[in-house]
């Protein structure tokens, strides 16, 4: 029974995740692609004084520090890109591997008290 609950919940969660990702392109299909983020940033930078430009560049150069999304990419443009396709493929593989592991690596304890 417990295994059934666990499996059901795991699958429900995975469906929810997968569903959410698959909804993205549909939900955003009527969005117009925005200007690429880097181009906008570059345009902004050209208006700055050298000192300010240096300050801004240093502040945003930290690894993994994601600058606020002043010009976000849209779901439709993202998923049509090569990066979007690779991302979806890798996410699918990773989620599938985790689900496979849940099913195959688990050794449920069998006991009269469970």
């Amino acid at each position: 029974m417990r295994r059934l609950i666990t499996r059901t919940a795991a699958w429900t969660l995975s469906f929810a995740l997968t569903g959410a990702m698959s909804v993205v392109p549909c939900a955003a299909s009527d969005h117009k692609p925005a200007a690429p983020a880097r181009a906008a940033s570059s345009a902004k930078l050209t208006q700055l004084s050298p000192a300010s430009r240096d300050l801004l560049a240093r502040a945003t150069s930290a690894p993994q520090q994601q600058p606020p999304a002043t010009t976000p990419s849209t779901p439709s443009s993202f998923f049509k890109s090569k990066r979007g396709a690779v991302t979806l493929a890798l996410m699918g593989a990773g989620t599938g591997f985790a689900l496979w592991s849940i099913q195959h690596d688990r050794k449920p304890v069998k006991s009269p008290v469970r």
């Binding site: 955003a28 300010s52 606020p68």
Partner: protein, 899 residues
């Protein structure tokens, strides 16, 4: 004045009507004043805040002030626009939970030369907080060679290790929060649920001078903030692994000769940690998702005969953020973890047939709704919790046999153990800013907790059998099935009163009403406690760069079933019986009946009183130095005491000379759980032979230097000088549960000494540097701590100290902490070659844990014993023999792609 009281009364009413309500609000605030170049305030300026989920705007008031409350942790930009002036902006402002950052901007009269003025770094010193906190940022987490076991990350904080935080009890005194979800075991307060290391946005270590909204701990608060989706798509794909060919052996032959069980140390044969993560918008500015899948695998060849230990943890996470509009936000987060182990061994002599399987799945959930009434008021309600169990089952469900002539065991692990847990909490809080007599940040809230604990234990196959020269002759049976419930209702009220532009008074009070009960029946434990908090922070130069601060507060421990569960029913009698040579059970020879402990009413819940004094200075725009003095005194020790039992002083011959001990006069099981302060131990004539006076104090000086990531490097350097002293050690649950006070031999004899989990000197460096041209990052973690203290224990027979379990007959024969382990030093290194193309960041990296393969002794035998190995040889292990060394050098390699 009336306005303040009216507002406060209305807020209190709102909170009480909102019903069950604690609530650490995991949000920060950005506010500030906009001025022109002459210093005049500018009303009517449009201020725009840009974060990963979109923009928010505010207009400065007549005093030129603006405020953005209730900000999720992360990076923000602030810009100010007014016709005729050049746009002013500040970028990359890092918001952490509970921080209020003052971002003042100066606007210039517009010129053609420049259309935007970018101000420098955000403040590195919080001049309004009287608390002392340290964070490990995402950029440092990403680059550093940090151990990926989530609970071990606590080791990187100053003054904290995974054995003790600021002198508190090992593993049990810390509030471990993931996005506000209390993830601790409700039985003893230790870590229970774990998560994907790559999910973490930021670690925040609090606890020193924390305001009233924080409670349920006597050590530290570890706030773990996980990532979430935003307008920008982000992803991380990471593989990290190793095997036995990349490991080393660091056991010195001389040490192995002293303790042959160390000669065959555990080896990592396979390690593979795979993470795929993806987040972004479902609908721009409105709906965001974050998803993560991980599979963690660790296989080892343990010490001794066991051939393989297999540990696997597949985890799935899903998080949704719904920004309904600028004032309403909903967040939902669910984690599933299917943790599983096979080949779990009990000791170095365990064989494969004696291992257990561990099955420990769990769900963790969070739902949260936040409403911003206006720039002065916002409220948050959340329902959080987790469900899980932890089963240990023998691979062979047959009795374990002990061959009494050799000490060897065979058959099975000897036991099964099942632990079931749930934790449910409803939290709520409301924050209001008021501007009367200075500025006030008022916060009210509370928490409603119901947690359940169920423990089941028994002997595998129903018995534990003794053999004599291979023939079974006697057996025991014993089991328990205990269920308990923690109930807690907490409320708090606090005010950060900015009395002047430079002085902030932080005051508050917190009430924790804690009850404990069994599965049926009423409460057997009840404790109502009120904790005052007061602190002050003074901006020394009025420039947001230097602050002196101090605080006083009382902090009560969380609700823990371990305090009262010995008073619950469900334990069987302990039965001894004959066993026939063919293994069948014979006549019952002895029955030791189970007698539940009694509890007094009105127990004062364990707590710690704390005073801190601190100085912080921004050395540069990105570097902060903080100096903190800490004084802590633990209070309200709860333990079991021997009611009506008499003890007779005797002179015992110990390994180091004669020692006065106390012999228990009868085999009584009559114990009472109470605050042990003042309990008197008596002799058979009723004369007092000693009085319990439990205490533990902690004093420390802490210096921390933080450098944010700029100019290609970042670092956190810390030094802590600390002393923990008392007659109750800071080992696990010592303040709440150990049976130390059931006998004067443990309560009164050589009990006083230093805390065995607090190093006197601790030096830590965590940092990274990005080498230009070759774009390779070098990151390191260096730690050096003075050796931990330990004591000399000897076990006496019941003929000397009277009847009782062996744990009550193990006595310090020299003052506790009279000896010290050697100084421990370790360097971990990471090298990562980066390949960046556009927004894509690729990396290939290698971690070198324990680079110099140091083999310092980390544990020794404190009570003389011996070990009989599987080859049949028996080796004496006298006091002081090494019993553990550092983990050897292990190289791990990884590759990742993030954007």
């Amino acid at each position: 004045m009336k306005g303040i009281f009216r507002t406060a009364a209305a807020l209190l009413l709102a909170v009480s009507c909102a019903a069950p309500v604690l609530a650490q609000a995991l949000v920060g605030t950005i506010d500030g004043t906009i001025k022109d170049e002459q210093g005049a305030v500018l009303p009517g300026v449009t201020v725009t805040l840009t974060g990963k989920t979109g923009n928010r705007t505010a207009v400065t008031d007549a005093a030129g002030q603006y405020r953005f409350p209730a900000l999720e942790p992360g990076l923000y930009d602030v810009s100010a626009e007014l016709s005729g002036f050049t746009k002013a902006a500040q970028t990359s402002i890092q918001i952490s939970p509970g921080r209020e950052l003052n971002i003042d901007l100066t606007m210039k009269v517009q010129s053609l030369a420049e259309s935007i003025t970018v101000t420098g770094q955000a403040p590195v010193v919080d001049v309004k907080s009287s608390a002392t906190e340290n964070t490990i940022s995402q950029s440092l987490l990403y680059s550093a060679p940090i151990t990926r076991t989530a609970i071990n990350v606590i080791n990187y904080a100053p003054g904290v290790n995974n054995s003790s935080a600021y002198g508190a009890g090992a593993g049990s005194g810390n509030a471990l929060l993931i996005d506000g979800v209390d993830t601790r075991d409700p039985e003893g307060g230790t870590a229970w649920t774990f998560y994907n290391y790559n999910m973490v946005e930021e670690y925040q270590f609090q606890g020193l001078g924390a305001p009233a909204e924080y409670g349920g701990y006597t050590g530290a608060v570890v706030n773990t903030i996980t990532k979430s989706g935003g307008n920008r798509f982000s992803g991380l794909f990471d593989f990290f692994g190793t095997n036995d060919s990349l490991g080393s052996n660091n056991v010195d032959p001389a040490i192995a000769a002293q303790n042959p069980s160390l000669a065959d140390p555990a080896k990592t044969t396979k390690y593979a940690d795979i993470t795929t993560q993806f987040g972004g918008p479902l609908k721009q500015d409105k709906l965001f998702f974050f998803a993560s899948a991980q599979r963690f695998l660790l296989e080892t060849d343990p010490s001794g005969p066991v051939t393989k230990r297999h540990e696997v943890s597949p985890r799935l996470n899903g998080k949704i953020t719904w920004q309904m509009n600028a004032n309403n936000q909903f967040t939902g987060h669910l984690q599933f973890d299917s943790y599983n182990i096979t080949g779990r061994a009990g000791s170095v002599t365990t064989t494969d047939e004696q291992t257990v399987k561990e099955d420990a799945p769990e769900y963790v959930w969070l739902t949260q709704y936040r409403h911003i009434f206006n720039s002065n008021t916002f409220a948050e309600v959340k329902y959080t919790g987790w469900w899980g169990f932890y089963d240990l089952n023998p691979v062979q469900n047959v009795p374990e046999h002990l061959e009494v002539t050799t000490g060897q065991t065979y058959g099975s692990s000897g036991y099964y153990y099942y632990a079931d847990r749930t934790r449910n909490q409803v939290n709520a809080n409301i924050t209001h800013y008021a501007d009367k007599f200075g500025r006030h940040e008022l916060k009210f809230g509370g928490e409603f907790e119901r947690s359940t604990v169920r423990n089941r234990y028994g002997y595998a196959g129903g018995a534990y059998i003794l053999d004599y020269y291979g023939v079974p002759y006697y057996g025991y049976s014993y089991s328990y099935d205990i269920s308990g419930v923690n109930k807690r209702q907490s409320v708090f009220a606090q005010d950060a009163w900015h009395a002047t532009n430079r002085l902030t008074i932080n005051a508050g009070v917190r009430g924790d009403m804690i009850q404990g009960a069994g599965k049926t029946g009423g409460n057997i434990y009840s404790s109502n406690n009120w904790a005052p908090r007061v602190g002050a922070a003074f901006d020394l130069a009025g420039d947001n760069r230097t602050v002196i601060k101090g605080s006083y507060g009382r902090y009560y421990e969380g609700a823990q079933a371990v305090i009262f569960e010995r008073g619950l029913p469900g334990v069987s009698d302990y039965v001894g019986f004959d066993v026939n040579p063919d293994g069948s059970f014979g006549d019952v020879q002895s029955v030791t009946p189970f007698v539940p402990y009694k509890l007094t009413s009105n127990i004062d819940h364990p707590a710690v009183d704390e005073e801190t004094i601190g100085f912080e200075r921004a050395l540069t725009g990105t570097m902060r130095l903080s100096l903190t003095g800490i004084w802590r005194d633990n209070k309200n020790f709860v333990n079991s005491v021997p009611v009506g039992q008499a003890f007779t002083p005797v002179t015992a011959n110990t390994d180091v000379g004669p020692q006065t001990l106390y012999k228990k006069q009868e085999n009584s099981s009559d114990y009472l759980i109470q605050n042990v302060e003042g309990f008197q131990y008596i002799d058979i004539n009723g004369n007092v032979i000693g009085t319990a006076n439990p205490f533990r104090s902690y004093k420390a000086f802490m210096a921390v230097l933080n450098k944010r990531y700029t100019d290609r490097w970042q670092a956190q350097v810390s030094y802590v000088f600390a002393k923990t002293k008392g007659n109750v050690d800071n080992s696990s649950s010592a303040q709440t549960e150990s049976r130390q006070f059931e006998t004067p031999n443990l309560a009164l004899v050589n009990a006083e000494g230093p805390g065995s989990n607090t190093p006197t000197h601790e030096f830590k460096v965590l940092g990274s540097y990005q080498i230009p041209v070759i774009e390779t990052s070098v990151s390191g973690y260096f730690v050096s701590t003075s050796g931990l203290p330990y004591g000399h224990i000897q076990q006496f027979g019941s003929s000397v100290v009277g009847p009782g379990p062996s744990s009550s007959r193990r006595v310090y024969i020299e003052p506790r902490g009279a000896y010290h382990l050697p100084t421990l030093t370790q360097l971990d290194l990471r090298l990562e070659k980066n390949f960046n193309t556009g927004a894509n960041r690729f990396g290939i990296y290698a971690d070198l844990a324990n680079l110099f393969n140091s083999g310092t002794v980390t544990n020794v035998v404190t009570r003389a014993t011996s070990v009989t190995l599987r080859d049949g040889t028996t080796h004496p292990l006298p006091f002081g023999t090494p019993s553990g060394v550092q983990s050897p050098r292990q190289i791990r390699i990884g590759a990742r792609w993030s954007f």
